[in-house]
Amino acid sequence: MSEDQTTRRNFLALAGGAAVAGAVPIVSVRPVQATPATMAAAIRNVVGEAEVHAGKVKLDIPPLVENGNTVPMTVSIASPMTSEDHVRSIHVFNEKNPQPNIGNFYLGPRAGRAQVSTRIRLADSQKITAIAHLSDGSFWSASVDVVVTLAACTEEVI
């Protein structure tokens, strides 16, 4: 059952990606671009050999963005935030900006609530991944696919 679901999800993701790629005209040639591989490398830099589990993290970001220059983003983690069990840091990554990193946020038990908001830039329709590092050393993640109609980062200066 779970295998079937995974397959179907993968298929839908692929189909969705293809539809998006077909609908968005290529507007400019970008000299540098992070790729899913560089994102994976950047994630490895943070988590090392540890396994990244899916769950616990909630990544709030609009699924359809008109202007990639400023996209509101909120990451929150279900954590009691006690000195024994808290979130140490939150790391956010992207697939297709010139660089795979978006931001690293370091908090601790004194935060009370594991939630951070900021505004980011997105150069293309892509997947955003947030990873939380908990006090017990485990890593948890959430990913969201975002469709961007006006890209940021590499446009010409007028």
Partner: protein, 105 residues
């Protein structure tokens, strides 16, 4: 170098409060080109720190993917009256600080 800080002026001991910060900065990515094809050099804020009565409670590393005029909001538990010190550090020697006081009852 204008900073906008939003901290509640008073709170009850043990409350979780939200702190909102905004620093005016161009956050030039270093990936944009002028019409003549030259790359505009990177000029971003790379680090943000918040201290509460001297102890660090929140820190962030920023990258070019953070939008201009970086807005960051986060939470903290207030235990005593005191001061929040905010510090932004960036390229080309950029450095800015701001303060906010809170009364805890």
């Amino acid at each position: 170098m204008a900073a906008l800080i939003n901290v509640p002026p008073r709170a009850k001991r043990g409350d979780i409060i939200e702190i909102k910060t905004l620093m005016s900065h161009i956050m030039e990515t270093g990936y944009r080109r002028t019409t003549t094809g030259e790359i505009v050099p990177r000029d971003i804020i790379t680090s943000f720190t918040c201290r509460y009565n001297g102890a660090e409670i929140f820190r962030a590393d920023l990258f070019p993917a953070v939008a201009a005029n970086p807005f960051i909001s986060f939470f903290t538990i207030v235990a005593e009256s005191g001061t929040f010190d905010f510090e932004w550090i960036g390229d080309n020697g950029f450095s800015a600080t701001a303060k906010a006081a809170i009364t805890v009852e």
